[in-house]
Symmetry: C4
Subunit: 389 residues, 4 copies
């Protein structure tokens, strides 16, 4: 029973059914809970629904509290060998996710219990529950890594933007201060400068003298040019980091595919950069006979059913399929369906040829398999033709 | 007769004349039809033209209805062997394009017939006709593929944007709510936050306290940085997908050019990534004697006429031309004109040298052809010189 | 005399002094002329200066007219062999630049002569003179090439934007029309949609209902994502085209450097993609002793003076310098100054090593030259040391 | 004593403690000083704090003056051999940083002394102190290099933007001038055009006629497309320049690592492009046993302590570590901590395999070291197992 409970918070590539359901309930609770806290700031938003809303709020609080307790229990029970229970608890409680889980319920409960928390606190801690969702998205973590990695160029470009903003606001202040009460001090001008440089352009403060407009035009164009620097640094860093994460996860999987074990270390690294990781659920159709083939597949785990002219057979981890269409440039010769949950590595047509161009041994192996499969298909086909219809 | 009609909706790289005209009429009908539905929402827009507009609307409806019927007929008559007619009909009717064709006319006709459709319905279904244009642009399909392919990073960046928007609106709400009635609730603040973070900046809601403006500046800069993530993911995915589509279509054409059949599979893959697909209509001049040469051409289908010092001759599918200027670094030595519709594969100067650097055999072949052509040209030239003028 | 005049409009990498001065005068005329036409639309802008402005305007008109006549004469006199004078004239007059030159003066003169041109015409044709500047910037031509080359993806992304704009305006119209008179028709809503999707956000039309704001937020984010497509296509196409132009111009120069003639065609293509073209005027210092060296130079034309420990010597076209710092990773060992106008090809440290990694023969040649130069320097240095101080 | 003072302004990769503290004090002085000058333009901003602010202002002035004197002294005393003291002084005083230091204090002091400076001058020179910060950020210098390097494409795109702005303002002027007093002259229309094309969109001037709005939509979309050109040129140039700077600084360090001295020049260039420079302070943990290993380290200077199953040992400059996890694809087998300040070169997993794929000799060396270390670890492990517990 306790293990069943612990399984609820399990994660990994293939979570159990109950973990999926539990995650779904949690996400709904978190989203609704945050929504209630947000809408709560609109006066008279709940007229006629006070009861339902407050009931739902209480329910969500209970669920999120139980979730926190459950995660504490799991941390305690699944501590590493030799680790003390308290250390394991602290390890979880002080991790970012542990802190998010804490903030979602404890301040609220304490506030209610002591009747000390003002209404604002309820709003803030209600909205903060949203952070619990971070567990289900690697995006924030990735972004953090990128910001750390690109800190130097980011700071450099922020410094340029700061100098631009200060210069622009000083100049516009001297140009406009007599005519324009909205630009009568440098701080006020800086609000205008940043709003213009970032191309937001609210329009609440606008230069009104001809000279001010001329200078404002220059600032608008400069902003466009310079303020793209941090955006571009972050965007390319983000893309690079996602590629790197794909490489690392693929690299560890490649080692599990027997087929690749004949490759040298350096070849594995090369192919790991070309492969893309994919998952299939039971029953998913991976390719259809007659479609144009643009990639081949390696099975890391799970089983697929291949149904073609040569009959139906099962492939399992370590096998590959889809290579005939790549080598022969013909449509798919079989339909492939996952018969269990599968982890697959996908190799694109372009990358396939790029790789085998340097490594004829690998091509030979794939080629032989393909040929034997095609021979089988032809034989089956011939046999069928000969069958009395 | 019926085949002539079926030819109207034919597509492919080289549609017949009647298909081109039919497509033109349809596009005009769709665009005007949508325009009428849009302008119709302006009160008194048609004063004095009611008759014309309603007549045109009726005519367009008839044309689009006939188009739908025609497409149904074509789907029925061109069903694959062994497929039942109903299945073929359903296959078309339930495809996205079939649904767009349906929405363009049927609700309208039913509404008119039953006099049940309100005026709003007419507006909506009139505007929806625009979707029929999707058939003539691969853009929406490409975008769909990109969104599917990049779903993970897109969702990741949307999650970051959501967290930013919620955080920004919560903070600005607490900072401004006392002073600024436009920011007196978190939902109202969220409108401001998204408008600012996306750098749209309407200016209908603007922070007015100094602290609010300071924080607003930070939000504007953060928005600039973070909201570029999904744009950049989509843009690079779109570019990548267009390149991939070019590779796939080129790859299948390369196999049709006899010249490339001496290449190994891996070389074909390499050159397929370098070639660009192009089409020429009858009479188009592909290169002019004396121009600087920056690419060579392979003919997939069709014929070209080469007019140079060596006289005039015809090249057809499988041949190539334009290689002399690439090898010798001299201006074009002949003028080349398409004498029929041609599909061509273009190889850039840079890519040409990149490729032959690894593959001297190919260079030899091109070189020999070039040399024999140049010898021919010299001989012709000498002959001319000797001619009594 | 007439040739002296013709030299005024000469162009090319190294224009004569009088051509430079003439170009300067023309640019000033064009810019001032356009500025006068622009400012002329401001009521009472010239009060007190009418005389000067009208005098200047007349002067500019005379200069631009003479320029047009001069260019016609040049076109006539410099016609290709066998071309008729009229064909040469028409060739110039109907080229884009010829049309810009024509528009700059003829309509104005005809208007003045016949007193038929309204004031608006003067404004338009005055401003149009600006187009004459296009001759001095390859940007418009490059942009044209890019737009043509990327026409398919550009149209594809414009189609997506159009569908987005139509959908957004239809939805916001139905959501807001009752409450918001500014969104009471689809065309009005389309103005809002495009202003929002392009992230301009004027704020003259803004959704006011909660549902409208929610939908408006979605539109703002969608706009940010989708409207970056054409910008990104154009930007990367522009960068690619500029690189290609650099390759083509470098490629033709590489053939002129004797040093490179020992390379094979494919190697020339490779190095042409790495070299950057640069120009130096007489007296320009190209490198200074003691600086960190990050590139080496090949001289295409002109002469440089090398002043180092080994004494002073002259290098001319076909020679190279700056290689010691790249091979030895030490600071520059000499100061190099251009003693005439030079065309140089620059090879970056990174690219240098990338290239010699594949081509040891080239490295050997550069290495030997470097060694003999260093030996010379050491000998000179030793000689100096031995000198009685 | 005087050397201790000179050490205050020392820079370089590892500044002394007093230099770090001095830099910190200076930065605080500069930032506060600029902030005071900015806030000073707000009327009545300091009511009740006049004394403190004016005292602080005086203190900052003294500190910045002393800093300027100190830097002059350092320039004098650290002049190169054979350089005159005055030349060294002038060299500093006329460098950009010397001018920034001068502007920060001298005009102020002179103004105060002569009582001639107006209040505006105080504001300007107070804000200008901000430029002193440029010394601590290479960003401005990098940006300058990029702008110089990309000047041609930048000017080209600015020219396109100018033509667009002039055309857009001329057209909107003719369309709107009758109806819209805000667009009654071309200069006024140009303000609108630039604000729209740069997607700032203040909303102070907006087209009001249907035709004006239609054209305004086109301008908004064109702006989005074209105005991304300079942003993209600058952003990619900035990224390229930062990579180049990394290459140059790494390249010089690689030569200092004995391990790399067995490589050929071209290999050093290749690996220098892959390595990333990093620094560690004393006590920093570089890797932890059990973590996933994604890179290996080369020590340029400093010492690290490796604590693993094989016991604890010290590695110093020339050594490398972290290679086992890369070769064996297993978690880290040891914890590594810096025991002094270290300069490290980091080689990513992907780049490691890319490099060793071409250079098996290097892999052999790393491999042997790894194997001997693992053997050591196993021996130690076995020894431990045999220990009586």
């Amino acid at each position: 029973m306790i293990n069943w409970l612990y399984g609820l918070v399990g994660e990994g590539p293939f979570p159990s059914m109950r973990a999926v359901v539990y995650r779904g309930i949690l996400v709904v609770c978190i989203v609704l809970s945050t929504t209630i806290a947000i809408v709560d700031t609109v006066p008279d938003a709940w007229i006629g629904f006070e009861g339902i809303v407050s009931g739902a709020g209480g329910l969500f609080l209970v669920i999120l509290s139980l979730d926190y307790i459950l995660r504490l229990l799991v941390a305690w029970s699944q501590r590493a060998e030799g680790e003390s229970g308290m250390a394991a608890l602290a390890g979880y409680a002080l991790s970012p996710y542990g802190i998010f889980d804490f903030l979602a319920v404890v301040p609220f409960l304490v506030g209610e219990a002591t009747a000390l928390m003002p209404h604002d606190g309820e709003t803030v801690f209600g909205i903060l529950r949203f952070l619990k969702l971070a567990r289900y998205s690697p995006a924030l973590e990735t972004l953090g890594v990128v910001v750390l990695h690109e800190l130097r160029p980011l700071l450099a470009s922020l410094f340029i933007m700061l100098i631009l903003a200060i210069s622009a606001s000083t100049v516009i202040y001297f140009v406009e201060r007599a005519a324009n009460p909205a630009l009568a001090s440098v701080p006020a001008a800086m609000w205008w400068a940043i709003v213009t440089l970032s191309t937001v352009g609210f329009g609440d403060v606008v230069p009104i003298t001809p000279l001010g407009k001329l200078f404002g035009s220059v600032v608008a164009v400069l902003g466009l040019c310079m303020f793209a620097l941090p955006a571009s640094i972050l965007a390319s860093g983000f893309a690079e980091e996602m590629k790197r994460q794909n490489f690392v996860s693929t690299w560890h999987l490649v080692a599990k595919v027997p087929f690749f074990q004949r490759l040298q270390a350096s070849q594995i690294a090369e192919i790991a950069g070309l492969l893309k990781l994919s998952r299939a659920i039971k029953g998913e159709v991976l390719m259809r006979e007659g479609d144009t083939g643009e990639c081949m597949y390696f099975i890391v785990s799970g089983q697929v059913e291949v149904k073609g002219k040569a009959g139906t057979f099962i492939l399992k981890n370590g096998d590959f399929f889809g290579e005939i269409a790549l080598i022969e440039r013909c449509p798919r010769t079989a339909t492939v369906k996952a018969v269990s949950r599968c982890q697959l590595l996908i190799l694109d047509a372009r990358d396939f040829h790029k790789f085998v161009a340097h490594d004829h041994a690998l091509l030979e192996v794939i080629w032989e398999t393909a040929r034997s499969r095609m021979a089988q298909a032809d034989k089956a086909h011939d046999a069928k033709e000969k069958e009395p219809v």
